[in-house]
């Protein structure tokens, strides 16, 4: 199974003052693939996402994106976050960042912003084009809400949702931007087993709809069942990569997660 390459990161480095948060990281994602990024807390996973989505400007290295639909290639370094989203990369946040004073549906409608275009005059005169666009936004947003199982709560405030539902709404909002690469930052954090199971099937469904997924997650069971490939980071460096089966037995990984003791015990 060798799908088309859609994301290629090479030599990505990020320095904060004297601290090197990311050290010459290489990573690639192919279309219709679920790739997991794991590692102990503080390994630099979220920093990596922030570099990818333009929130941080990487100190060095290259991020290349290839659209699977058009085959067009672009370099993401130095682009503004909204441009990167327009190119087809969407994300969720580790500490949920919904628009809590807006309704669930409106949150998803915001995601449609970069796929629509009406501005001041459109808003004031509400011509046929604008009305059609609005209607499409509403319809597509509802469809997404049905997909993530929140259609019932469409008109409630986002802040009134349960924790698991908020995480799903974040995914829905990201999907509304029509990405081909979806970045999920700890989507299962704080979920109960039932919610996690629902999440797994949701992620698989999204993958089957032609989205590639790169996710950060601490729930190893979820990572091992979902991922096609896993990258392991520690102290800003990549220490291992491979299939779940390979990672499970990788010495460096075990060492990073469990410390030196295990190493000496085994020896």
């Amino acid at each position: 199974m060798m799908n088309k390459l859609i994301l290629e990161v090479s030599g990505l480095t990020m320095d904060f003052g004297g601290i090197r948060a990311l050290d010459r990281l290489d990573l690639d994602v192919r279309s219709k693939e679920i790739v997991a990024l794991i590692g102990p807390n503080g390994a630099g996973k979220t920093t990596f996402f922030n570099c990818l989505t333009g929130i941080y400007l990487p100190s060095n290295g290259d991020i290349r994106l290839v659209s699977p639909q058009t085959g067009k290639e672009s370099r993401l370094n130095g682009l503004k976050p909204n441009k990167i989203t327009e190119k087809g990369v969407a994300r969720t946040f580790q500490n949920i960042r919904l628009f809590s004073q807006m309704t669930v549906l409106e949150n998803v409608m915001i995601g449609r912003h970069c796929r629509t275009s009406s501005l001041i005059l459109g808003a004031i005169f509400r011509g046929r084009k604008t009305r059609k666009e609005e209607q499409e936004t509403i319809d597509k947003s509802y469809e997404i809400l049905e997909k993530v199982g929140l259609a019932e709560q469409a008109n409630e405030f986002a802040s009134n949702l349960s924790y698991g539902a908020q995480r799903r709404l974040e995914i829905g909002r990201a999907l509304a931007t029509e990405p081909f690469l979806l970045l999920l930052d700890e989507p299962a954090a704080g979920m109960n087993p039932q919610e996690t199971a629902d999440l797994v099937s949701l992620i698989l469904q999204i993958r089957d709809e032609d989205h590639a997924i790169l996710l950060i997650e601490h729930d190893m069971k979820l990572v091992m069942t979902l991922s096609d490939r896993i990258f392991v980071m520690d102290y800003g460096e990549k220490i291992a990569q491979g299939t779940p089966a390979e990672i499970r037995v990788n010495r460096a990984v075990i060492k990073a997660y469990l410390g030196e003791d295990v190493e000496s015990d085994n020896a």
Partner: protein, 300 residues
């Protein structure tokens, strides 16, 4: 050349008074991340209190030395009390509100205090009693630097040194630095953050009051509206130096004072305030972290 030195000295005097006010902005900003719009008003209240006390005492015939001391102490006490109360009423209930809320509340406080003084006292300019006499030994250089300039420079230097000592070596100073770095962590190690915040407001207000007393006696008149412009200028100085940084506030104030002094001396005095405002706008646009401040990193 004399003109240059004269301008330089008056710039330093201006700057050191800005510094007394700017420190209050920077300290409060460092601790709770709020631009305390009402700080200029606290300074004005300090000036007014010292005016009232000094005038009353001089009417009752007290000696000058006693007047200076009592007026200074009274100004510091009441300004601190106002600063403390403003924090308790207008900022403390909003500590977890969205960022816009305490800012609007601060603007409201500023307008409230200004008009309170206007209604309680008067809208006229009032003559401030002369508290600093012309010293005889200053005679030979009086044409370039006045006695009150010297007093202001000396007082500010002493106050700055005292503040540095307070922040570096005392318990409350250490607690303040800890709270500025990380409020949650300070709370966890047992620092009473509420008390630290109150202390910051009290110290900042007392400094502003001293500034108020000094500038009022230097210029010779006061009015309820002096806090607004002085507040913005001191804020400009704090931002120029890097808001949150104490040495930055002093440096920024001196630079601003000198710039204003030279600009009005050599270019035109009509646009005195425009220089300060333009400087403010330019710094915020091009270097919002200021000269000695740290750039902020976004947390996501």
């Amino acid at each position: 050349m004399d003109y240059f030195i004269e301008l330089f000295c008056s710039g330093l005097t201006r700057g050191s008074i800005y510094a007394l006010i700017a420190l209050g902005y920077t300290m409060v900003y460092g601790i709770i991340g709020l631009i305390n719009f009402a700080h200029g008003e606290i300074y004005m209240i300090g000036a007014f209190t010292s005016f009232i006390v000094a005038t009353v005492l001089s009417i009752y015939g007290f000696p000058l030395a006693a007047i200076v001391v009592v007026a200074g102490v009274a100004a510091a006490i009441w300004s601190s009390a106002y600063g403390y109360t403003v924090e308790k009423i207008a900022y403390k209930p909003l500590r977890h509100a969205p960022r816009l809320a305490p800012l609007i509340s601060a603007i409201g406080m500023s307008i409230l205090l200004q008009n309170y003084v206007l209604l309680a006292q008067t809208s006229d300019f009032l003559p401030f009693p002369e508290l600093i006499p012309e010293f005889a030994f200053m005679e030979p250089i009086a044409h370039i630097i006045g006695s009150s300039d010297i007093v202001i420079l000396l007082t500010t230097t002493v106050v700055m040194l005292a503040l540095t000592f307070l922040i570096k070596f005392t318990r409350i100073g250490k607690a303040m630095r800890a709270t500025a770095q990380d409020r949650t962590m300070a709370l966890l190690v047992g620092i009473n953050v509420d008390r630290v915040i109150s202390a910051t407001f009290i110290i900042g207000s007392a400094l502003a009051a001293i500034g108020g007393l000094l500038i009022a006696s230097h210029i010779g008149q006061i009015n309820f509206a002096i806090g607004f412009i002085a507040g913005i200028k001191a804020f400009t100085a704090a931002v120029l130096g890097g808001i949150g940084s104490i040495p930055g506030a002093v440096l920024g104030s001196l630079i601003l004072g000198l710039t204003e002094s030279f600009a009005t001396g050599y270019i035109s005095s009509d646009y005195e305030d425009v220089f300060a405002f333009s400087l403010l706008v330019l710094i915020l646009i091009f270097k919002p972290s200021g000269l000695l401040g740290k750039a902020e990193t976004k947390k996501v």
